[in-house]
């Protein structure tokens, strides 16, 4: 009643179903309240995004004046063996970490949403590495994997096995970095998965139980299908995160041995800030952006559709 009265008195409202209150200007307030964020967003997101694209068409170092080179940075890129190898190492990391981290997160989520008396402890313990900074995790794991005095090799030696060159052998280095990453971030996926699992109505489990469903059947016929939207979300987030890998590789192996773990972001960083080829670096980052975007959209279209 009061609201109807108020609506009559106020100016015509563009959006229906919302009471207009005298002296209340939604349009003005909406803009005013959005303004601080939009200023920051424009200055540090939109503007650099466009500026970076612009730079990618120039030969640009800080010392001399920029020179327009058209698509040369992009065409050079596709002739650059280091670009391909870095891209391949990034892909390797994505292919290694994505499936394993998803499965680990899911298994952990099952453990912490189950009936175990240890579930509280497990939730804390599995999650805790995630709050540590990447550099701490990477220096710690580099120490664990240190060839002569690291605990991993000390244990192997005491069991009579030989030392493993975790970080200095081309065959193992990427796996070793991945191992540290598993420990560091699996807990994040666990949190997402357990949030998904907790949303499944308990009655479904109860009726399955009454129908005599075995645990394996419950898992494959109830839990997994019903959290498919969480799985898709996890997958998309994980692929994006893995494509953006840099820090742990940079700290643990420095891209070595002999460039065998140099990932694309490291190459982007070195090109831009060690060799000051800013235009080339920007072009490369746009190619990576495009790849990530493409992969995400493809994933969303192929997997995201199914859930509705």
């Amino acid at each position: 009643m009061v609201q109807d009265l108020l609506r009559c008195r106020s100016e015509p409202n563009v959006l229906q179903g919302y009471p207009m209150i005298p002296g209340n200007k939604d349009k003005r307030d909406g803009i005013l309240f959005s303004l601080p964020y939009l200023a920051v967003f424009t200055l540090f997101m939109i503007y650099p995004l466009l500026f970076g694209f612009f730079i990618s068409f120039f030969k640009w170092d800080i010392l001399s004046t920029a020179k327009f080179v058209g698509l040369k940075n992009y065409t050079d890129l596709f002739k650059d063996a280091k670009f391909y190898s870095s891209l391949w190492h990034t892909l390797q990391f994505v292919l290694i970490t994505t499936p394993i981290l998803l499965m680990m997160g899911f298994a952990m989520a099952l453990a912490v949403t189950g009936k175990s008396p240890l579930k509280g402890v497990m939730e804390t313990v599995f999650f805790v590495p995630y709050i540590f900074s990447m550099t701490v995790v990477a220096t710690l794991w580099a120490w664990l994997m240190q060839k002569d005095f690291g605990i991993f090799n000390q244990v192997l030696v005491s069991m009579g096995a030989g030392r493993v060159s975790w970080l200095t052998n081309e065959k193992y280095a990427m796996w070793s970095v991945s191992l540290a990453t598993f420990w560091w971030t699996a807990g994040f996926n666990m949190v997402l998965f357990s949030a998904g699992i907790k949303q499944i109505p308990q009655e479904i489990y109860e009726s399955a139980h009454m129908d005599g469903a075995r645990p394996w059947q419950v898992l494959t016929h109830i839990t997994i299908p019903l959290i498919s939207s969480t799985t898709v979300l996890c997958l998309i987030l994980q692929v994006i995160a893995s494509f953006n890998v840099f820090g742990q590789v940079y700290v643990m192996t420095g891209g070595g041995p002999s460039g065998s773990t140099r990932v694309l972001i490291q190459y982007i960083y070195e090109t831009g800030f060690r060799y000051y080829k800013m235009g080339y670096s920007a072009a490369m980052s746009y190619v990576l952006f495009f790849i990530i975007l493409l992969v995400s959209v493809v994933q969303y279209l192929t997997l995201g559709r199914k859930k509705d």
């Binding site: 710690l140 420990w183 949030a195």
Partner: protein, 266 residues
Amino acid sequence: MTARIIEVLFILLWVFPLFWLVITSLKNENEVVTKVFSFWPRHSTLDNYRKAFTSTYILNWMINSLIVSTFSMILTIVVDAPIAYAFAKIKFPGRNILFWLVMAGMMVPFQVLIVPLYLQFNSYNLVNTLTAAMLPRIALPIGIFILKQFYEEIPSALEEAAFIDGASRFTVFNKIIIPLGKAALTTVIILSFINAWNDFLWPLIAINDTAKYTITVGIANFQGTHGTQYSLIMAGATIASLPQIAFFLFFRKKIIAGIAMSGIKG
């Protein structure tokens, strides 16, 4: 029973690296760099911590990180909360488009921005300052998302009553929305602080002077400068993790809830 044993095994496996971090930091350097392996420190010592504080820049780095994280946290709240309120409660034209535009910002990988941002800050003469390390990280779309979800749950009747009493939009925001949304705001405060504290790529680029490094860059730099002094490095890494450990001890539930919330409807 077997399930319990496996669980305990995994718990120990997950805790072990952290245990080893602390154990190594308490050992004498000679005891670490030896092939005669010791599990427990023979002579526990805090020497490495003393050395970290006296002979490295770690105190500077901690203070720098504290400054950067605190300011970026405050600024994140200042810009995120009002727009989240606008998205949740104010029906203004273009709202939905704007919301998706802001959320699309989450899709932009930060590395695309590093070259242009560097040139941008270079032209402001801000390279190699803490301001540069802080500013580009204050727009936190996930914060907006979390706050918006929460603010939507606050009954509009409360606001309307205040408006009828003649309160301005800002008063409503300040006196009703902010206090009632305290829980979500705390989550965003924690997430933004940890985010800023853990940031690596950008401070690595924005800052050149060793004394001006943030702690993450400093610790990464440790390995280069202190090569094989593993117990010193581990002491540094432990010091660097103290704020996160403190946050985690006090706000474990909130941190986990914040991450879960960002995943549920995303």
